[in-house]
Symmetry: C2
Subunit: 211 residues, 2 copies
């Protein structure tokens, strides 16, 4: 049974384990990363590792939470500025910052995010989802006419689950078939055009009914 750290010393240990986890996974992938490696990098023994984590997966879980928290913390301060810009620019900025974030520390996070599914990152994406919803909501406040755009929740869903992973995959590719700029402008235009088109359509448009 894993224990809760009480003293500063053990809290530092837990922290070191999570950070060592990122390094080990970035270097050897989630399968290749061994608990011994993680312990070595963290400068502790394997035994200590199991004091705080049930198993290797629990370390991955902590890493996921850390990653998501760091992502949110990275974006949060940008929000006030972002919500004032036109949609297209907001998205370009978001993607640009996300790229830098992923590539920091010799691509530490990027190399881990690549294996996101393995480590169930997705199950912890909720805070990111909430943040995006928040940004959209504030956008709506600044631009009330956008309220006419249909299907905003679906757009957010697609953007998070599709856009973000498209970016992660793109940055992980050795020879991507398109440039990062083409990708991010594609995403920005896709959303931007969607909104423009929605706004240019008669507001009472009815889509296929049930049945």
């Amino acid at each position: 049974m894993p224990r809760k750290p009480r003293q500063a010393r053990s809290r530092a240990t837990v922290n070191a384990i999570v950070e060592a986890g990122f390094i080990a996974v970035a270097t050897h992938g989630p399968t290749g990363a061994t608990t011994r490696q993680i312990a070595d990098i963290a400068g502790i023994s394997v035994g200590s590792l199991y004091e705080y984590f049930t198993n290797k997966e629990a370390i991955f879980k902590a890493m996921s939470e850390r990653f998501v928290a760091d992502t949110v913390a990275m974006i949060q301060p940008l929000v006030p500025e972002l919500v004032r810009k036109p949609i297209r620019q907001t998205i370009l900025d978001l993607l640009g910052h996300f790229r830098v974030f992923l590539q920091e520390n010799n691509e530490l996070y990027l190399k881990c995010a690549r294996h996101a599914f393995t480590m169930d990152f997705e199950e912890y994406l909720d805070p990111v989802h909430k943040l995006l919803v928040d940004i959209v909501m504030q956008h709506l406040l600044h631009n009330p006419e956008l309220t006419r755009v249909r299907n905003i929740p679906a757009m957010i869903y697609i953007f998070i689950n599709g856009g973000v992973f498209a970016v992660i995959r793109h940055l992980s590719e050795d020879n991507p078939p398109i440039s990062f700029e083409a990708l991010s402008e594609g995403l920005a235009d896709m959303v931007g055009h969607y909104v423009s088109q929605e706004l240019s359509e008669p507001s009472g448009k009815i889509t296929a009914g049930p049945g």
Copy 2:
């Protein structure tokens, strides 16, 4: 060193191993699936498994190739019909068929696709990419005015890497925040609106230049 099967018997064995792989991964995930399980499900012994596959990862690789080949084989016959329809409908149809495909056999493929990154499915997506490009090209032949749409390669990239994974994730969720219909219509509208908007813009539009 893995051997090439020569007789029908061993070809059946290899096939059984790959299919057992899908079942094992669908049931226990790529980490939880053991070679013994796979061998048991395939009705052979562990030893035989290593006659044809260097290691567990090689089995995953074969599974990825099979999955991609099956996906292409599923879509291919639909192409002639798809390329005649309006874009929005083409996408809705594609996604609908893809959904059925993933959910067949008690969601066998869906449960595996969820772990796509772990098993490096992405590295084998090329045939799917080519197929989509083909569909788009044929669309262009039927609707020459679409040639004015910019950034088509980026759209395809986003659609494959974003759209497809958004769908896979959505179908894997217990309580998705939006319905599948909302998701697929969102994707269809996103592409459809993008195209409409592009066509409604003056053709010589210049985006930011280099530097």
